[in-house]
Symmetry: C2
Subunit: 113 residues, 2 copies
DNA sequence: CGCGATACCTAGTGACACGATGCCTCGGAA
DNA sequence: TTCCGAGGCATCGTGTCACTAGGTATCGCG
């Protein structure tokens, strides 16, 4: 099932920060990881993810570095910073609050007229 | 705790449709209800909610009618339509899928480096 | 050699929540 | 009586942000 893209607003940095809190990853790998972990629900295009990475880096949440694989491919890896970890904590709490509030509304019994 | 407004994208119609599936409400009342049920997390301005109501009405999800209270105040009530109920079912399923996918990512163990 | 996958990037567009603003009524306080 | 806050409706402009479309380059394989 596909998801209305509007629902994604603001959640992509949360997802990115979380995955990078585990391991350094490069952009393309991040896209594939998000697709895999979400069992196909998230299918981000590169035009979506790269700008997010750049802005997170600009804001000091991530640090980027180039590494060349054995096969000679250049890859730009991203590592989370301390600031990024703090941001992740805050965004995770926000996410819980937000979904809790929505679920509270959805828990209201509806009238099947 | 306040929530990043970006998270709200796309969820407002879901919340509105859900509340209106219980009872006909007028716009101002809807704002107050959402604030109350979410225990203050959602505090929508009128500039936010009225356009949502109008577009839902335009799309046939809602039907609007005027009613005058005993004190003479004119209020514009909104009633959900059959089409709106079907939309609500779909959006609710989308919401579950979406939050399930995000939570799946967040459930990944993180490395506290 | 061509093509798909890998891997990076940017610019323009469009959806949409929000703040600001405007109009009107009512009740109570100054 | 005048004013102000709350109730009640509405629209417009702005800013954020995901996405489509486009561009470059390398690699492995048929």
């Amino acid at each position: 099932m596909t998801v209305d893209k509007q629902l994604l607003k603001g959640t992509i940095p949360l997802l990115v920060l979380h995955l990078l809190a585990r391991d350094d990853l490069y952009g393309y790998q991040l896209i594939k990881s998000l697709e895999q972990v979400s069992t196909g629900v998230f299918q981000f295009s590169e035009g979506t993810l790269y700008p997010v990475l750049h802005s997170l880096e600009r804001d000091g949440m991530l640090r980027a570095y180039w590494r060349v694989s054995e096969v000679g491919r250049k890859r730009k890896y991203y590592a989370i910073t301390d600031r990024g970890r703090r941001e992740l904590t805050g965004r995770t709490a926000e996410w819980r609050t937000f979904t809790g509030a929505v679920d509270a509304v959805l828990a209201e019994e509806i009238d099947h007229g």
